[in-house]
Amino acid sequence: MLKYVLRRLLQAVPTFFGITLLAYLLMATTPGGPLGALVFGNPNLSPREQEQLAIRLGLNDPAPIQYLRWLLGDDWMRWDSDGDGLSDGSFLIPLDANGDGEAEPPGDRRGILRGDFGTSFFNRRPVLDLLVERLPATLELSVTSLIVGTIIGVGVGVLAAINRGGVFDNVSRIVAVIFNAVPGFWLGLILLLLFAVTLDIFPLGDRCRTTLDDSCPPLHQRLEYVVLPVFILATGPIAGFSRFMRASMLEVVSQDFIRTARAKGLSTRTVWFKHGMRNALIPIATFLGPALTGLLGGAVVTETVFNYPGVGRTVVQAFVQRDYPVVMAVTIYAAVATILGYLLSDILYAIIDPRIRY
């Protein structure tokens, strides 16, 4: 088992490397680049100050060096061994970058591989803090909707399979297609219009009532804030899981051991639920990875519609403001979450299916 997990982790390394390249390219190839974004934020910078800023951020270095600095930091590229605040040794980059005859201060970046995602251009705060602060809101939405979506989806799928060709089967199929075809943000708006504006049952958005210290009470005390966004996020898993579970269930019940169970005289209920459903659930594990990716994408939209202060909204904001450190960090965050999601579903599949040897 450990060997299998390690092998899968190893397979993820090239993908992760590709993602870091992609994140870097996103920044480096856009018109204006990071300096453009910074100047846009501070229009009063003189050309000379801009030049100084570019040198300080290392934007004049060759692209591979910039990439290395972002990935691994620059404290090993320029260092200060006698403690006078000026560096006295360098590797790959010049000691005196701005050409004023004096060595630059030593590098202080540690690189994303050591958890240093830099400082946000706009909030002037470490990017990692910014994301960690927003993560709980996103997690509570995604995890809840994944659980809700799985339970409802699996339940509907099983009932549809039992009721094959019947009214429930057809209705569930139609609802699944509709859930896939209706844009999530529009469904969210309609529900807001209906439940928040017209009926006034739920609030118009946000995570909880505004408090002085920006904290929120535990989830069960503010369900009215969570119901709508969770429903919107759960439509994807409900549609997916119900179709997938129905197919899986029908495949299982056509197998020989089900005939044996029936022949033994077991009740229909036992055959369907104990023998059928349990085995049909196994392939569902593979669906977890894609479901997680879907939720990450859905979070962007849902959090925007419902004004939910999570990572998804930060993503949109960062891209619009071209806050490159945040942009690159959220790219890495989304990729790592996706890779881990797929890894997790593969491992889960290997654990619960006794037929799989790894």
């Binding site: 090239p14 590709g18 297609v177 509709i178 844009p183 529009w186 994408g297 891209f319 989304a334 996706t338």
Partner: protein, 308 residues
């Protein structure tokens, strides 16, 4: 019925060589025959064709029938309710005719959906067939690119590229294609590998057919139904993606209307003009629903294993 002939075909062929009576039906004609009987798919197709027709005729309709300009703002006529004289479906927050904008918005949304999906398909076809057929180092490299791009949720990538490049409707098609080709490429690649290893392709190769000939005359025809399905579903997916992007105001910018960006400000006018929100969303949903139904219908009709 054709199946009768087929099931008896073998025996008659052994006894009597009366070829005129044995009419085997190709997969294509059988598929179209099944499609003609599939009422739901036909209905979806009809609805879609009406939408396409209305969109194509949008400039004519707004100019000569409704006598409105979809981009002309008029502060006096802000947020008129549906049914107002001269504005059949009312006006939006800038006093622009809602029906006119819906028609013109459909034009942009449908065009972006169609052309992006076609571009995606072409890229997917070229990349998927080449890598699937030849394999080797290029295949490994392309595979690495595909896994990397797939490690990001599709919407993230789309948001990223369009936020940083600020595309026009034309370049948005390219942006959607560049971020969305991986699925089609994987699909085509998988199918190509499967077909490449079939006996008849082996036979063609043994007869000295060139790779080009094998790819175009032996593999491509087998891909057509898969491509048709993925085109129908792909257009639906792109329309959804474009709408989401425009809603986040990262897609097509005002004043050009699309069904997506007409919803951007909808939230601010909940109380006074709910109709502004319902129209575009409903049209997106119906269009995408029709496309998904058509995709499903093609899948069922051209399934070689299905029996009548």
């Amino acid at each position: 019925m054709a199946t009768h002939v087929n099931s008896n075909g073998k025996i008659t062929r052994l006894e009597l060589t009366d070829h005129s009576k044995i009419k085997s039906e190709s997969l294509l004609t059988r598929g179209f025959r099944r499609l003609r009987r599939d009422r739901l798919t036909l209905f979806a197709l009809a609805v879609l064709l009406v939408f396409v027709g209305l969109s194509l005729a949008a400039p004519f309709i707004t100019g000569n029938v409704l006598h409105v300009d979809p981009n002309a703002t008029s502060p006096r006529d802000r947020l008129l309710p549906p049914g107002t004289e001269g504005h059949l479906l009312g006006t939006d927050q800038l006093g622009r005719d809602h029906l006119g904008r819906l028609l013109h918005g459909g034009r942009v949304s449908l065009a972006i959906g169609f052309f992006s999906a076609v571009t995606i398909l072409v890229i997917g076809l070229v990349v998927g067939m080449a890598t699937g057929y030849f394999g080797g180092l290029v295949d490994d490299l392309v595979n690495w690119v595909i896994t990397t791009l797939d490690a990001l949720p599709a919407l993230y990538l789309l948001i990223a590229v369009s936020a940083l490049l600020r595309p026009s409707p034309g370049s948005l098609i390219l942006v959607i294609a560049i971020t969305g080709w991986t699925g089609a490429a994987r699909l085509v690649r998988g199918q190509t590998i499967q077909i490449r290893n079939l006996d008849y392709v082996m036979a063609a190769r043994a007869l000295g057919a060139s790779p080009w000939r094998i790819m175009f005359s032996h593999i491509l025809p087998n891909l057509i139904s898969v491509l048709a399905i993925s085109l129908a579903i792909g257009i639906g997916g792109v329309i959804l993606a474009e709408a989401t992007l425009s809603f986040l105001s990262l897609g097509v910018q005002e004043p050009t209307p699309t069904w997506g960006n007409m919803l951007t400000d909808a939230r601010s006018y909940f109380n006074r003009a709910a109709y502004l929100m319902i129209g575009p969303g409903l049209l997106i949903s119906i269009t995408v629903l029709c496309l998904y139904i058509i995709g499903d219908g093609i899948r069922d009709a051209f399934d070689p294993q299905a029996v009548d």
